[in-house]
């Protein structure tokens, strides 16, 4: 037999890779988080706070009890929904930075539906409103998708710009046609709707807490996205287009259509997140009193981080979103406990992002070092010219390729 040695080498190489991926996969972002928290501790200490006390408050605030954990799930829900959408887009090699705009579009359309049909039965109104949210977000994703697929417009730029368009549109609508007219008559000119029909409230799952149906919707959507990507022909083609447009086109796929679908689906998830944000809000209304970002809580951006944290795998994005939700909830507790400035909390989550995103590079660097000093080096591949190129434009996946759980 020719090349048996090579095959043995590749088997062992592959087994090593698989084990490394299984064990190291979740370990890498966790290590990165710990590293970020250590740097954060130095910052807390520099501002005159006690890091140990601060972090204890943070952990207790996020995961210390049922009500704390419930808050965490509420924060995690929009991150999860946006993150799942990001997984779909990034698998198609489409970078969707338009989560903010898609959340807003979903929130607006679902609110319009509820305002128009306030007396519809709960069993019909809530699903209808959620669908409207998904449709709103989908439209917002469809536009940059078409521009990207048929006019080669860079989707990063178009999605970011549409965030701004959506933000102003929301402010216009909430100060104008959708404003709470009773409040205006009472002299309060606030950019928000009236209290929405109680038939559209997302049911609370746990007695006195804020935990609502949203997190379940998020988990179901994540599982659905997993099935879509790895169990359906459409998902296969979306991933194929992400892997190589040329090979996909040559195999007879409709590449442009898949790009549009990936961005539309991605927007749909964010739009659903927007609807969930509205119907699970404490005030039960859509409000931009403190600006568009006050409504979205920047979930459109943080969701990207959650997805990267989860290795762009919808199922891993579930724990990743909960971890990030916890970080956001806990950060407030930290701030209260050690009395440090609010920006520090923002800086802390920023640090985590930087560490997680750069951990991919760190892993590669460590592997390279290992090769130089023969610690678990991978065997020579001795590949030919054309075999070495390709797949270069695949998005960065911090915790590896995460094919199937």
């Amino acid at each position: 037999m020719i090349g048996t040695v090579t095959v043995d080498a590749r088997i062992s190489d592959w087994v090593v890779q698989r084990v490394v991926r299984r064990v190291m996969g979740p370990l890498v972002p966790l290590t990165a988080t710990v590293a970020a928290l250590l740097v954060g501790a130095a910052m807390v200490w520099g501002f005159g706070g006690d890091p140990v006390e601060g972090y204890r408050a943070m952990f207790t605030g996020a995961f210390g009890g049922i009500s704390e954990f419930a808050d965490t799930t509420v924060k995690a829900t929009p991150l999860l929904l946006v993150g799942v959408g990001i997984c779909i887009a990034f698998r198609a090699s489409v970078i969707n930075i338009g989560g903010e705009g898609q959340i807003i579009a979903g929130a607006l359309l679902s609110t319009v539906v509820v305002l128009a049909l306030p007396d519809l039965h709960r069993g019909a109104l809530l699903p209808l409103a959620l669908i409207a949210g998904a449709v709103g977000g989908a439209c917002m994703g469809f536009i940059p998708g078409v521009l990207k697929a048929y006019a080669n417009v860079n989707e990063i730029l178009s999605t970011i710009m549409l965030n701004i368009v959506a933000g102003y549109m929301m402010q216009y609508l909430l100060l104008g046609p959708m404003i709470d007219k009773e409040a205006v008559e009472a002299g309060n000119h606030i950019a928000q709707t009236k209290r929405l029909s109680p038939n559209s409230d997302l049911p609370i799952l746990l007695g006195d807490t804020q935990m609502n149906l949203g997190i379940v919707i998020g988990a179901v959507v994540a599982i659905g996205a997993f099935f879509l990507l790895w169990r359906t022909s459409l998902g296969y083609e979306i991933r194929a287009v992400g892997g190589s447009k040329d090979a996909s086109r040559y195999a007879g796929m409709k590449v442009e259509r898949r790009i549009v679908q990936a961005l539309t689906l991605s927007g749909m998830m964010s739009g659903l997140g927007g609807a969930v944000l509205v119907f699970s809000s404490v005030a039960h209304r859509l409000s931009v009193e403190s600006g568009p970002a006050g409504f979205t809580q920047l979930a459109g951006f943080n969701g990207i981080v959650a997805a990267l944290f989860g290795g762009l795998h919808p199922l891993w994005t579930i724990p990743a979103a909960i971890l990030f939700g916890g970080l956001l909830v806990g950060a407030n507790a930290l701030q209260r406990a050690v009395q440090v400035a609010t920006p520090l909390v923002v800086a802390l989550s920023g640090l985590v992002v930087v560490f997680v995103v750069s951990s991919d590079r760190a892993v590669r660097w460590a592997r390279h070092l290992g090769e130089r000093f023969d610690i678990g080096a991978s065997p020579e591949h001795d590949r030919t010219g054309s075999a070495a190129s390709g797949g270069a434009d695949a998005p960065t996946t911090p915790s590896g390729e995460g094919a199937e759980p």
């Binding site: 040695v5 010219g385 054309s386």
Partner: protein, 507 residues
């Protein structure tokens, strides 16, 4: 010892990677003034040995001697200090910089901290004069063709006064003419007392350029010989470990109906000029039409236009009588075309997909899905069967395709394309960068397909391949068909003239 020690001697080099012995007590020596070829299949350990020499890997055992002195080379910079130069398969050059700047890169200038580029440029001119390495020192690198870039790499090594020069598959990127030129340059450098290590698996080049040949297989030296004392068949046997059939048996098949008809085809290149300027030909059932020609004469554009990947300006493409001109690739496939693309990693497979996923690239949406859901069980069964039938060497069908060797990726593509039961096969450079064993296999498969009644268009720059497989041979030059000959009438001389654009003979 009476004789002078060799320029370079590597003794008992052993290098182990997890699960594989890449070099097993390899002895290798190089005399000044010789071109010594390291021959072997992909993964035989040639590159590992040279990477050890260049300080990129550390050997577990073995010693390296330069002119009889034991040396320890633990980094590429140490290798350069010892006068060892390496020309990698993938060039290490900076496109926006000029040739001179690229050569000077990383060296200390005599006028530190200022640069001294005119001196460098003059030395480059001298060197290119001496060795016949034509290149303009002031040209920015991105303007240069692949062959010229390689000359810059060689100049870089010469500028650093390398006495031992390692060239890792230098001919893989060159046209036949450029290969001939390179061989002249190599001979000249050797005549100057340098020692050259030439890594290749192309047997005719090895026979043409080498003073000595060392063959590696599975990390061990299986033979050392000289071109005078061997032939290609023996070298192939040493590489593969069994006799290799260099030319497949060509069954006599009576050609049938024309299945592929191309009429007055005009196609533009990416730059917008006419790459295919009125090609007409037909391929009949049970026939292989070989299309030879130097690369860049419109072959890629022709193949893409037939496959529906590039718009057609004028003319028509008929597959089994169906007009598929300018149709979506899907329609062309449905009409009966299978395509083995030239850029296999870009067009043929999706690198990050598993072997199984790539095997169903064409039919996952039809044969292997039910109501939009993939039939994973049926898919896997089908893939295991194909991997078996087409001898794709992979540990598992879930391995990422980019982990496979070039030859095995090509077999994977062949498995997928041929199992679609095509009427017409379009094979573009099917064995480029593929090792001897896999090439033999691919050739036999294509011949078997011909016996099954397929019409095959074989586009290849490898004239030996075209001559070995084809029933008729055409030559493409500047987008036109110079002429078509029956295999019996075709000679290398006649085809060579056509490839150079000299008309004459049968049309």
């Amino acid at each position: 010892m009476s004789a002078a020690p060799p320029l370079l001697e590597m003794r008992g080099i052993t290098k182990r990677f997890p699960g594989v012995l890449a070099n097993d007590a390899v002895d290798f020596n190089l005399e000044a003034g010789e071109v010594h070829t390291l021959l072997g299949e992909n993964g035989a350990g040639k590159s590992t040995l040279m990477k050890i020499l260049y300080g990129m890997y550390r050997a577990e055992a073995g010693e390296v001697f330069l002119r009889g002195q034991r040396v320890v080379i633990d980094s590429p910079s140490a290798a350069i200090e010892h006068g060892i130069g390496m020309i990698h398969q993938h060039f290490m050059l900076v496109p926006p910089l000029t040739v001179t700047e690229n050569v000077a890169l990383g060296l200390q200038s005599s006028r530190r901290p200022l640069t001294d580029l005119p001196t460098v440029a003059n030395r480059i001119r001298e060197l290119s004069e001496t060795y016949g390495l034509r290149v303009n020192p002031d040209a920015p690198l991105w303007q240069l063709a692949v062959g010229e870039r390689q000359r810059v790499e060689i100049l870089k090594a010469l500028y650093r006064e390398a006495t031992v020069l390692v060239m890792d598959e230098p001919t893989a990127v060159l046209t036949p003419q450029e290969v001939d030129e390179l061989i002249v340059v190599l001979r000249r450098m050797a005549a100057d007392g340098r020692g050259l290590v030439f890594i290749s698996h192309k047997l005719h080049e090895v026979m043409a350029v080498s003073d000595r040949i060392t063959v590696l297989r599975d990390g061990r030296v299986t033979g050392e010989t000289t071109p005078a004392n061997t032939d290609r068949a023996e070298l192939a046997r040493l590489m593969v470990g069994r006799p290799v059939q260099m030319v497949p048996d060509r069954p006599d098949v009576q050609p049938g109906e024309p299945l592929l008809e191309v009429t007055d085809l005009h196609v533009l290149s990416d730059r917008g000029d006419e790459a295919v300027a009125g090609m007409s030909f037909g391929v009949r059932a049970g026939e292989i039409l070989g299309l030879a020609g130097v690369s860049g004469n419109g072959q890629s554009e022709l193949a893409q236009a037939i496959a529906g990947l590039r718009p057609v300006q004028e003319g028509s493409v008929l597959i089994d009588g169906n007009d598929v001109t300018g149709q979506h690739p899907r329609r062309v496939r449905d009409a009966g075309l299978s395509y083995v693309p030239e850029e296999r990693m870009r067009d043929g497979v999706i690198g990050m997909f598993s072997v199984a996923e790539n095997l169903v690239l064409l039919n996952q949406g039809t044969e292997f899905s039910r109501r939009g859901f993939l039939r994973l069980g049926a898919m896997r069964e089908h893939c295991r069967d194909l991997v078996e039938r087409f001898a794709v060497k992979t540990p598992h069908i879930d391995v990422p395709t980019s982990n496979l060797s070039g030859g095995n990726i090509q077999k994977l593509i062949l498995a997928r394309e041929l199992s679609a039961e095509p009427k017409v096969i379009l094979a573009a450079q099917p064995t480029r960068g593929v090792d001897v064993g896999a090439a033999e296999y691919i050739h036999n498969r294509l011949v078997a397909q011909k016996a099954a009644g397929c019409a095959t268009l074989l586009i290849s720059e490898d004239l030996d391949e075209v001559l070995a497989l084809s029933d008729r041979i055409g030559v493409m030059y500047e987008g036109r068909m110079m002429g078509v000959l029956d295999r019996a009438e075709a000679t290398v001389e006649r085809l060579g003239l056509w490839m150079a654009g000299v008309a004459g003979g049968a049309a």
